[in-house]
């Protein structure tokens, strides 16, 4: 996916620029405020739907539209494809666990990074928790992958 040997000199600057736009959008839309996300989940303000689906419409048009013009990306030479994952029980179990965490805290990964950017140092509790959680599942799954013989890269 990303270049192992020679990386295009504009690769990292472009990723940074994309992150910059992405993070600005999360700030502008107030998604960096856990309270606003909780207000959505408690049915007090449905604005979040415009953020998530507004963004999905832009990516959808981009993902499907670019293939009309070219087949590979200029900086990586990679073929333009869709983001497709295998649907298995992990999607539902993991999605459910994520849902409990999202509903409890009002944060999700991207919005948490953005929250740090708007000055919310309290969010470090949340980001620290995310690393702990990511480590725990990596520990369990590394252990079970070793006992199951050949380690398969699930995603």
């Amino acid at each position: 996916m990303s270049a192992d040997h020679e990386q295009h000199p504009l690769f990292l600057p472009l990723v940074f620029a994309g992150g910059l736009i992405f993070g600005f959008g999360l700030g502008f839309s107030h998604m960096a405020q856990p309270e606003v996300v909780l207000n959505f989940l408690q049915f007090d303000d449905f604005g979040l739907l415009f953020v998530m689906f507004g963004a999905a419409v832009v990516t959808g048009i981009t993902f499907f539209g670019i293939k009309q013009f070219r087949s590979t990306a200029p900086l990586t030479g990679a073929v333009y494809g869709r983001r497709l994952k295998t649907l298995d029980k992990n999607v539902v179990i993991g999605g459910g666990i994520f849902g409990v965490g999202w509903g409890l805290s009002g944060i999700c990964p991207g919005a948490a990074y953005a929250s740090l950017g708007v000055g919310n140092i309290t969010i470090l509790y949340g980001i620290a928790g995310m690393f702990v959680g990511a480590y725990l599942q990596g520990y369990w799954r590394s252990a079970s992958a070793e006992s199951d013989a050949p380690a398969a890269a699930a995603d």
Partner: protein, 184 residues
């Protein structure tokens, strides 16, 4: 009359308007689109958690992300910086627009002309929620950006299922927590 009823219902659903949500959402999508157009990578935010752990841990689960870990750090730094640009401009009142809505939650902190925003959601909720988010997004193959923005934008069946699952569960949990009197 039906029109004004409709407007009333709309105001109930969107007490803070919709402009800043829609504009912010377009920027979020644009950020993903810029990276995708240049690299063909549909970037999500939660893989960063595992790929960054590969710098510090030799667990086999994290090693698969070594090839992408550098750019994922850069992507995350970009997100933090982009939100900081928002804080230094609109949030601090340096730039204004009719599309922008000032924050009505949390608390503001003035530091040398810069307006910072701080949450009032309790730290234990952030931390415990964060742990569950770390486990769930990685097990479930994506978060609100990976499944919600990139996956839905790809018309991916797995992402539709993922989004429906975490959205419904989160609504239930948030309502339950509020009903138990936990606030904020």
């Amino acid at each position: 009359m039906s029109l004004s009823l409709l407007a009333l219902a709309f105001g109930d659903l969107f007490p803070n308007g919709i402009e800043h949500y829609a504009v912010g959402g377009l920027f979020v999508g644009l950020g993903v689109a810029v990276i995708y157009l240049g690299t063909a990578i549909p970037a999500g935010a939660s893989t960063f958690l595992e790929s960054t752990l590969s710098y510090a841990s030799n667990l086999s689960r994290f090693q698969q992300y070594r090839p992408s870990r550098d750019w994922r750090v850069v992507f995350t730094l970009g997100i933090v910086a982009g939100a900081f640009v928002y804080a230094a401009t609109f949030q601090s009142g340096l730039v204004s627009s009719s599309l922008h809505q000032p924050a009505t939650t949390g608390e503001f902190l003035e530091v040398g002309g810069l307006t910072l925003w701080l949450t009032e959601v309790q730290p234990w909720r952030l931390f415990l929620g964060g742990v569950l988010i770390g486990v769930g997004t990685r097990l479930g193959k994506g978060c609100t950006s990976g499944h919600g923005v990139c996956g839905v934008g790809s018309a991916s069946g797995a992402s539709f299922v993922g989004v429906a699952t975490f959205l419904l569960i989160a609504i239930g949990v948030a309502q339950l927590v509020a009903a138990l009197g936990v606030s904020p």
